[in-house]
Each structure stands twice: as C-alpha cells, then as structure tokens.
Symmetry: C2
Subunit: 255 residues, 2 copies
Amino acid sequence: MSPHRASPPGAAVLGEPGGRPVPEATIVRLAVYLRALCSLAEGGATVVSSEELATVAGVGSAKLRKDLSFLGSHGTRGVGYDVSRLVARLELTLGLDRAHVVAVVGAGNLGRALVGYDGFARRGFTVGALFDADPDTHGGSVLGVAVHPIGDLDPVCRHLGITIGVVAVPAEGAQDVCDRLVAAGTTCVLNFAPVVLATPPGIQVRQVDLAAELQVLSFHLARRAAEVLGDGSHEIDPAAGAGARDPRTKTVVSP
Amino acid sequence: MSPHRASPPGAAVLGEPGGRPVPEATIVRLAVYLRALCSLAEGGATVVSSEELATVAGVGSAKLRKDLSFLGSHGTRGVGYDVSRLVARLELTLGLDRAHVVAVVGAGNLGRALVGYDGFARRGFTVGALFDADPDTHGGSVLGVAVHPIGDLDPVCRHLGITIGVVAVPAEGAQDVCDRLVAAGTTCVLNFAPVVLATPPGIQVRQVDLAAELQVLSFHLARRAAEVLGDGSHEIDPAAGAGARDPRTKTVVSP
DNA sequence: GAGTGTGAATCAATTCACAGCT
DNA sequence: AGCTGTGAATTGATTCACACTC
C-alpha cells in the first residue's frame, strides 16, 4: 500500500543536547543509566563514580563516561557524579520532563498487557486511548482506558494530543495502523507486529520483535550444539575449535 | 590489568555455520529475512533477488547479500535465491529445525500475553510451563499451560527439557529468577524485566526493555522540539561554531 | 544481461590511555 | 590520590564497486 520509504536505520542527526550528535546506541543506554541511577538513589547514594554506575548498568566505565560526555555531563573530577543532578540531566535529555500520552492500537493480549504495564507510568508515559478492530470491544475499557474503533484513530489521537503510537495488532493490519497513526500526526511508533513498517522520512519507528528475539537465542543454542557435536549440521569446517572460548555474553569485568 | 594477549592463541575464532563468525547484528536480521521470505513464499514467489528480498526486509541489498554470505549462501548468479531452499537454510542456521520448549516465569499480564502470542508457536517455540510467585495461581493454567510455583522451577524445567527461559516478573525478582533458570540448566534467557541481569559466562541474555524503547522515542521527540524552538532546553557549550542545524550529514537515505 | 559473492573502502562504535581537575 | 573527560587507536559493521557466474 504505502510507497513510503522505510525509515532510515541509524540517521543520527546533529545539533544535539550536549552540542554533538548522540549515537543511536548511546541513546538506548541513557535510559539504562537512568534506571540504574534511580535504583542507586533508592539505596541512598548521593554520588556515584563511573565505575559503580557502570557496574549496575552492565557496561564498561569508559563507555559510560563517553556516553555521558555527549550530554556535556556534570561530573566532578576526583569525586564522581551527583546522582540527583545526573538523573535530572538524563530525564531532560530523554524528554521525560514532560508527560507523554501514548495510544495503544490492538486490544488483544499484548495490547492489554501494555496498558497495565507500570513501567510506562513510572516514567511519565500514560496510555490515553486503546483502539481495536473488533466491534465487540468498542465502548468498553481496559483498566480505565477506553477502547475506540480504529476508524476513530485520527480524531481521538488529535484530541488527546497523542505523540507516540504503539502498534500491537497482527502483522496483516500493522502497516495500515501505522499509516493511520502517521496521518493523525504521530511521529513516533513502537511496533510489536512482525513486519517492517514503511514510513515517510522523519517518523521514528522502534521495532520490538519477540519471535526474532527467541530466534537469536535459538541460533546460539544451535551454534553451541554444533560446536559440541563437532558440527554435524554443516559442511565447511576447517578448524575444529576447542570450545572453551566464549565470544558472546556481556561478561563482567575479567579479573 | 594487562590481559593483552590473554586469549589462548590456539583457539582461533570459532567456526560458524557458513565457516565464518557471524556478526551479532547479522543474526538479528536473519530472523527478519526469514519472515520476509515466508511472506514472499505465500505470495507464490519461488525465486527472489537480493533486491526484492531486501526491500521487503527493509534493508539495503548489499547488506542482505553480505549477511547471507555468512551462511555460505546458495544463490544463483544472474537469477537470485531459491525461496524454499533459502528458507530451509535460514531455519537450519537459526536452529529452528528442532522444536524449542520455553518456560515463562511470571504469570502477570505480560507473561500471560506471551503464552498466547502465536508468533512463538509459528516458529516452533512452545511454552511448556508457566511459573509464578503468587500461590493463588499455582495449579491453575493459562491457555492449557500449567502454572507452577517458582520453587519448582528446577525440576519442572529439567523434566520438560526447557532450553529457553523468559523472565516476565517485576524488576525485584528478576535476578533471582534468572539465577534459578541458570541453575536449572537453561542457557538462554529472554528478559523483560527492567534490570541488567548478571549471568555466568556462556549464558545468552536478550533484553527487551519496553520503557526504554519509549524513552528512545521520547528522546527523538525532545530533540525535534528543541530544534524547532531553537533549542531552549540546554545551556552548555555556547561555542557552537558551525551553523546550528546542518541538514546534510549522511542523514536521509535517498530514494 | 542480470544478479550474486566478496575484497577493499568507508563509517560508526568501542576501548585505551592519559591529561587535567578537585 | 582519585576520577572525570576526551583525543587517539582499535575494533566492528556497513557500503561500494566489480569480478565472476549463469
């Protein structure tokens, strides 16, 4: 249907908060740092070193410092980072200083689970509306969120000031839903449907592909099995490797 | 610290399916290609070119060919790839030739939604057991899958031959659940809890962080807003030498 | 002619290592 | 002394472009 281009993969643009373009990979980690910081704050910490924070966040300290440097970070040399100050900086950078209202499209198992997911609310994301194709659901509500027909997506989203759309419908309907979200002025889409969405440029799409995640794990199981069995499933095999090495896994610091 | 040459020189990079190590980024895309191929196959296609397949998968054709070359791919020059042959090759590589039984820990909204997610079954993943901390759920079942106490995780998983564990519990319980899964012999974990799991080496962890995904989208909303408003949210580094916004820079992929 | 497979070049991300603050 | 911030070096991934096959 849509002759749009797929949204550009990386597309890290410049003119960013700290004055430099923030790499995509870094942005994802900022949210992780924020989480880690909050849990440290709950534990009573008021300052943290990059080493401590990195450990909690599961990354190396150098990477963490580099990441934070993109925000023109406010650490103190010889001391560390002021926790509440850094929390505030991360929240600002991630746009969490203002509340966001999201629309969830698809009131199936997944859609309903997302409405109830408290991790969203905890970060200032509220589900303003649910949409579904099934007329039986219309007029009902899930945890206090009204369910609307998909045909009403445009007016309802505009009225509620929706800025992020979540696609939780089966693959067949996903592109149509996406097109409607974009037409309704939404510029950010979180897609759970197992299809690559085509969008006009400027629209941000994040894909969460549950089946693909399992397949990646399955790949590693298969690789390991092949290794142990001396690789029975494949042809080419020059060097039969000793199996001890583990190239993957985000292993902790090796002593 | 000086583990410069710490890695054993004898054990060369291990041999992967196609004979070369497969980059992580590629593995994720293989699942996408498989999906794209299946939908093309349903449309009656029997051969595809890298160009066609790449379009459906939302990547560039060069990247696709490079990715497939890691499997010692079987395309035909001047023609393209035999669809069913390539499907078989991808399934083999991703370990989908054998069925996998997964355990879902956490029978809340998300856990139950995952049990019902047909995208799993469609790729040969069956949920063999559900576990939950709440005694009220024990002995019950969700869509035919029995709910067990978390304390029974080890025996039940071993009995069912679980190879993949899915963590769908709140953050507080996640590390404990992960430890139990690992103790029960599971080597692959799909984690939905918003914490970084610590695991022994050799354990594969994939993290799905729903709140983080929204935060990444929120970041882009904030960046865009800052751009439009001439960036009111930041102070640091007023020494922006070059023009504030540079519409160039690799950015948009030309059609 | 059409389209794969792949070295070589480019681009991005990570890690190192150290200068510079407190 | 301790720890951040960051250029420089390295590693990894993507893109190019073309030889080669059908």
